[in-house]
């Protein structure tokens, strides 16, 4: 990515260098004197001695363009440099010392931003009279606040970095801290600001010169040339064209340079591709051999494998995951962050981020009509008909999962309207909100999401999910973002819903084993994209058959372990998976055999699976 951006920088960089070099070398180039008049040959077209022709006073246009670049660029650079020096100093001082210093530096600079820029420049011109010096001065005043803002913001964020605080605590002198740690940090955004300023300064300079209030004739300036050529537009339209081209071209090159520079310094802005809900293609085109089984229960996931692109090519973030779910049953998928449990849930819903691609497996789902479908191979339009009706999902963060600009009732009602309900939506919404235990549901329906508490927002999300009595409810860490007491209430609500909706299956994704015992019938433990153990909920706590499960139980605060112990190390990154058992580097039981060959998931009893070579030793 980075190398690509540097290459993209080359074209505008070289062009900008050529323009700047031409401007610097203007006196050395074999050009006619840009101010020597030749009135006899005024407005003559291009000739061998005057490649771009002669202007209204018979002056050589090419020479004036090159010399004009010199004037325009030197005014722009001088103004940008002055603005950068002054503005940065104000910004750093304001950001570093805060308080009164901030008031007199940054806030005062911001007053300048209250005036339209051209207006301010004109005000300065009124006071000081036109000329290049005035131009540089007024442009510098105009652009300094921009630098002050950037420097101020960056200083504030750099200031709160740990190492700056540490240096202060060690008693380093303020000036040294500023010079050593802040300047390198704020240099990149200031560089972008600088190239942006040079381009804007050129535009303003030429504009003022065009009005006759900038560079004073007979000095060549592109703005002045356009002003002059306008008068003789009827006789010599080409005269107008050349300075316009030079000005636009230069500004374009500078802007391009600036854009590319910004991409290089901050690659986050890169486009990600078309959003998922606009894709019409099937995720996996080729149907697997063999017909779909007649009745596989409610949901059967087989051999699900998901890939993402990375620096080291395609890597598997979920590998060969399989499980099944009967109607009315609740399965908990447990694992640390990075175990692939959330992606597995999103794959069932067909809501995978666009970077994640399913490459193998199938997801068999029995719809309300009794028909079995492979969700991994369904077109988006068919999938949409299932989502929110047969399949529903609750997300981790209820605050960001509700649109802040829409009333709660409208968002719950969306579930109904999306599936053809048009009559009595309002009453249904209120009933749903009452069912999920929202106090005063009529008022809540008219409220905006920010007007209710976090726990109530999650109740709203649940109401929207169950609006059409789904066959399968996926809950992705529905309690993680909530307070402990609210967590218990939401879990209670979900348990109640299970009783009310007898045939509804539920997949409950969580990293918290403690909540699992209350809600799940069976548990699937995932680690680094693989299933490592599957068992009924009572067995898993009483007799775990994988060291990872045992370690998770031992790290539960509410667990029965005598000592609370954290699992050492972290989940390996998908592009740096160990060769043998993926858990071996963190496992207390790991033996030599564990590090050489990857263990398979084996059935160790009816309904019990483990991916550990030494599971028998745990009995």
């Amino acid at each position: 990515m980075r190398r690509l951006s540097i290459r993209a920088l080359a074209a505008p960089g070289i062009l900008a260098a050529i323009i700047v070099l031409a401007a610097i070398a203007a006196p050395l180039l074999p050009l006619t004197d840009p101010v020597r008049q030749d009135v006899a040959n005024r407005l003559t077209g291009p000739s061998f001695t005057h490649w771009l022709g002669q202007d209204e006073y018979g002056r050589d246009v090419l020479s004036r363009i090159v010399w004009g670049a010199r004037v325009s660029l030197s005014v722009a650079f001088a103004a940008a440099a002055m603005a950068a020096a002054g503005g940065t100093l104000l910004g750093i001082l304001g950001g570093y010392f805060r308080g009164v210093v901030e008031l007199v530096t940054v806030r005062v600079a911001e007053v300048v931003l209250c005036f339209p820029p051209l207006l301010l420049a004109l005000l300065v011109v009124t006071l000081m009279g036109p000329g290049a010096g005035t131009l540089v001065f007024s442009l510098a005043i105009l652009f300094a606040p921009g630098f002050a803002r950037v420097a101020y913001a960056e200083t504030l964020s750099a200031r709160s970095l740990d190492y700056v605080t540490a240096q202060e605590a060690l008693g380093a002198r303020t000036r040294r801290i500023l010079a050593r740690t802040l300047l390198p940090n704020i240099a990149p955004p200031l560089l972008v600001q600088f190239s942006l300023t040079v381009a804007s300064a050129m535009v303003l300079e030429s504009g003022l010169s065009f009005l006759g209030l900038g560079v004073v004739p007979p000095s060549p300036s592109w703005g002045l040339m356009i002003r002059g050529a306008r008068a003789s537009m009827e006789q010599a339209p080409l005269l107008l064209f050349w300075p316009c081209l030079a000005l636009t071209g230069t500004v374009l090159v500078l802007n391009l340079l600036c854009d590319r520079l910004r991409d290089l310094l901050d690659p986050r802005g890169k486009a990600a591709g078309r959003p998922g809900f606009l894709r019409r293609l099937v995720a996996l085109p080729a149907a697997p051999v063999g017909a779909l089984p007649a009745a596989p229960g409610l949901l059967t996931v087989e051999g699900l494998t998901l890939e993402i692109p990375s620096r080291a090519g395609q890597v598997q973030v979920v590998r060969d995951v399989g499980f099944s779910l009967a109607p009315g049953e609740t399965l908990a998928i447990v694992g640390e962050s990075g175990s692939g449990k959330t992606l597995t849930g999103l794959a069932v819903m067909g809501l995978l981020p666009s970077a994640v691609k399913p490459v193998a497996g199938r997801i068999l789902f029995t719809g309300r009509d009794g028909q079995v479908r492979d969700l991994l191979r369904m077109p988006e339009t068919d999938m949409r008909a299932l989502r929110g009706r047969d399949l529903a999902m609750i997300f981790q963060d209820p605050s960001s999962s509700l649109n802040p600009l829409l009333r709660i009732g409208a968002q719950v009602g969306e579930s109904l309207r999306a599936h053809g309900v048009t009559q009595g939506v309002k009453a249904r919404v209120v009933a749903l909100l009452r069912q999920v235990g929202l106090p005063d549901p009529e008022r809540a329906a008219d409220a905006y999401p920010h007007e209710v508490s976090g726990g109530q927002r999650q109740r709203v999300m649940i109401a929207a999910a169950i609006a059409n009595h789904p066959r399968l409810l996926l809950a992705d860490e529905p309690t993680t973002a909530l307070d402990v007491t609210v967590q218990a209430q939401i879990l209670g609500l979900l348990a109640e819903l299970r009783r009310a909706e007898g045939a509804m299956g539920m997949v409950f994704v969580t990293h918290n084993l403690a909540v699992v015992s209350d809600i799940a019938d069976r548990v699937l433990v995932m680690y680094a994209g693989e299933v490592v153990e599957e068992a009924p909920v009572t067995d898993i706590f009483a007799a775990p058959r994988h060291p990872y499960t045992a370690a998770l139980i031992a790290s539960m605060p509410e667990g029965e372990a005598e000592r609370l112990s954290a699992i050492p190390g972290a989940v390996p990154q998908p592009w740096a998976m160990p060769t043998g058992c993926r858990f071996a580097p963190r496992c207390v039981m790991a033996a030599e055999a564990c590090r050489t060959a990857a263990p398979a998931l084996v059935e160790i009893a009816s309904g019990r699976h483990s991916r550990c070579l030494r599971w028998e030793e745990m009995a």
Binding site: P116, G207, F210, L240, L247, A272, P275, F395, S415
Partner: protein, 317 residues
């Protein structure tokens, strides 16, 4: 909502007062005597007696605070003073020209939104595709052409060579509405080239950002159709930054129409300002700068109100 509006209005009025005082101080405290500056055009040192007479006439010999009070009380009555050049009341001239500039800026703003918002949404939804790349390249080019170049080239090509439109000018709406709007279109569209590109860019990146938000995925999980998701959950949320950017640009345009009005002979406020600057008529410059800055403040106030309409969190915050 009312309390919110009242609070913002008070702040805005305070700002206008600060701006007025600032403009007054800048003019009066800057080194150099306005009377001398005015009379010394052409580089010849003015006659001291004439300078003294002008100072007396302009009240420049009075103490600064007396001048300040006089000026401010004048402003409250809508009195901006008299032009130095022809003793014409400045307030009248501003009242005559301001609506024309506002009309031009308003038309440009509306057309820019009509063009920029849908194109921005379309480009964002096909990010990385051909349409997106073509539109983004066009926007990059449009942003690089200075507005007076667009105007001048438009006059050259459309009026001069193709004779499709007239090169510029102004006809009052009351006299000939059709001709008035036709003459408005060229300068307005000239501004749209740059402003529309800004709207496009902001809308595009804003939509891209909103598309990644959780509530869009949640709407998808409910089975909402793409059109409904884009309309209800993406475009509306993405509009907030566009409102800010357009308002800020319209604000700078209030002063920046100078060039467009000059190119198309549109007799707005900016042309008046250029004339005043050339003549160094400082009461005129002061009055115009003050009016435009106040409009800028007013615009920011309106944006705050608009925010409150779009985003319920602001109203209650």
């Amino acid at each position: 909502m009312l309390a919110f509006a009242a609070r913002r209005l008070l702040v805005s009025l305070g700002l206008v007062w600060v701006v007025a005082s600032l403009v007054f101080l800048v003019i009066h405290l800057i080194p150099g005597d306005p009377a001398e500056l005015l009379l010394s055009q052409g580089g010849i040192a003015p006659d001291p007696a004439a300078v003294e007479e002008l100072r007396e006439r302009l009240g420049l010999n009075l103490p600064l605070w007396t001048q300040y009070v006089t000026y401010m009380t004048g402003l409250l009555r809508g009195d901006f003073g008299l032009s130095l050049q022809d003793e014409h009341p400045i307030g009248e001239e501003i009242a005559l020209r301001l609506p024309r500039t506002l009309e031009l800026v308003g038309a440009a703003g509306v057309i820019s939104l009509i063009v920029g918002v849908p194109l921005g949404v379309a480009a964002a939804l096909r990010a990385g595709g051909t349409l997106d790349r073509v539109l983004s390249a066009c926007a990059g080019l449009a942003l690089s052409i200075p507005v007076f170049v667009v105007g001048t080239l438009a006059v050259l090509v459309l009026a001069q060579e193709l004779r499709l439109v007239s090169a510029g000018g102004y006809v009052p709406f009351a006299r000939d509405p059709g001709r008035h709007l036709a003459l408005l279109l060229m300068p307005a569209c000239t501004i749209v080239v740059g402003l529309g590109a800004v709207v496009f860019r902001v809308m595009r990146s804003s939509v891209l950002e909103v598309l990644e938000r959780d509530h869009v995925r949640a709407a998808q999980a409910r089975g909402a159709a793409p059109g409904a998701i884009i309309r209800r959950h993406v475009v509306r949320n993405a509009l907030t930054p566009v409102v800010t950017v357009v308002a800020l640009h319209l604000g700078s345009l209030l002063g920046g129409t100078v060039l467009v009005e000059f190119v198309f002979n549109w007799p707005g406020l900016s042309g008046y300002l250029v004339r005043s600057v050339e003549a160094r008529d400082y009461p005129e410059v002061m009055g115009i700068v003050l009016v435009i800055s106040s409009l800028f403040v007013l615009l920011n106030f309106l944006v705050d109100l608009l925010y409150a309409v779009i985003d319920p969190r602001v109203r209650h915050g």
